[in-house]
């Protein structure tokens, strides 16, 4: 028997998601954002989700659409305020969605540390600011650092460029961003890729995410470009 993590459709890979799940979404803005997987998540109609992502969505595509469908209870992100972010803004201003603001580097490190089995670490980031309030402070070499805790998820939805049947991933340019570290931090990591590579053709030096972190992969060969779709007035569902 051969290992095969490739699935036929977005619906197939999304079958285990449940109400109340904590879900990481890769991407920084639209680059690396798994828009089709998020649409699959909308189709599941799961609700009360906690979303961990860098942003809070744009327009009514991808995360913006998921939030617009009232499936999200809480967003943990670094930057929820974008010109085209409309659905989050509306719910937030009406106190219908929670927000945990995390500095971008701390967000990245909290995710990476979950994947690395590190439950907590110290950083100087946010010391002396409102974002450090209520957190433990410790002195190293005369400087103050704040204790930050790791951030795990039930699922990570990831956009990558290629995968082989094992789930070895490569990314395209700055679409890499949060994706590789989110792959490490979830109980189940689900990936959309533009194309499949034969494992014989994968250069082991070039793999960015090793297969060990990946559970399910499906092909979306021509993914939506979010900014163009929004400019064209496209929405989901």
């Amino acid at each position: 028997m051969k290992i095969n993590k490739l699935f036929n459709s977005v619906n197939d890979v999304m079958s285990d998601v449940f109400d109340g799940a904590v879900i990481m979404l890769g991407g920084f803005g639209e680059a690396g954002s798994p828009v089709e997987l998020i649409h699959g998540l909308i189709d599941t109609k799961c609700k009360d989700l906690t979303i961990i992502a860098n942003n809070a969505g744009n327009g009514k595509i991808g995360l913006g659409a998921l939030i617009g469908e009232n499936q999200v209870k809480k967003v943990i992100c670094s930057f929820a305020r974008s010109p085209k972010s409309i659905t989050f803004k509306e719910l937030y201003e009406n106190n219908k969605i929670e927000l945990e603001v995390v500095p971008q580097g701390t967000l990245a490190e909290r995710i990476r540390s979950a994947g690395a089995g590190i439950p907590g670490f110290y950083t100087q980031t946010s010391v002396g600011t409102p974002l450090a309030e209520g957190k433990e402070i410790k002195i190293f070499d005369g400087k103050e650092y704040v204790l930050e805790k790791s951030l795990k998820a039930d699922f990570a939805l990831i956009k990558a460029e290629t995968s082989d049947r094992y789930g070895n991933l490569t990314y395209n340019k700055t679409a890499r961003n949060f994706n590789p570290i989110m792959c490490m931090a979830a109980n189940q990591t689900i990936v959309q890729v533009k194309r499949i590579e034969k494992e014989e053709n994968t250069d082991p030096e070039k793999i960015i995410t090793p297969s060990i972190f990946i559970n399910k992969v499906t092909v979306v060969s021509d993914p939506i470009i979010e900014s163009i779709a929004i400019d064209n007035g496209e929405t989901y569902p």
Binding site: A31, F79, Y92, Q124, P130, K173, I208
Partner: protein
Amino acid sequence: MNEFINIGWTKDEIAKKIANEFPHGSYVNLGIGMPELVSKFVDESKEIIYHSENGLLGMGPPANENELDYELINAGKKPVTILPGGSYCHHADSFSMIRGGHIDYCVLGAMEVSEGGDLANWTTGKGIPAVGGAMDLVVGAKNVFVMSQHTTKDGSPKFLKNCSLPLTGKSVVTRVYSNLAILDVTPDGFKLKEMYEKIDFNLLQKVTEAKIISN
């Protein structure tokens, strides 16, 4: 006092002063907005490598129509280019560069700066709070330059004894570049490094809440 917003160095002139400050071979992160101007004024006598916190080292100019790739963007989410010698990395690695002290200079905008080097630039306390990478940059970069108008749009001082807005970082700003002056943040407070040629020190002090050391 809002006449002072319209005098002094232009944004381009400020950008050029900052650009001249970087030594050859520096690794630099330019904040979104006004700081992005700085890269236009680095001359051929030196090579500077630009870091964008979304995992891009060796960032080139904005992408033009025929080289547009929505998966090659900068921290402001605009399509850009990569120069030879550039590389991509994931977010934890990118912020290791920042937090680990590997970025030589970062240039950021400011709402308020205190004489102790405290910076407030991420939230007015109203609306959706959104911090991005600013808090990491200010604690991590070796030199934190603020690039800003000297006063707010309604003429209120931005360079203060103490910040009134929620902080981005405490004792983090190294130097301030405004349309009216360049001020070093020293243990004794703001110290004048350079002043716009057509004003005098009394005027500068008048539009600055914190005391400026002039010698």
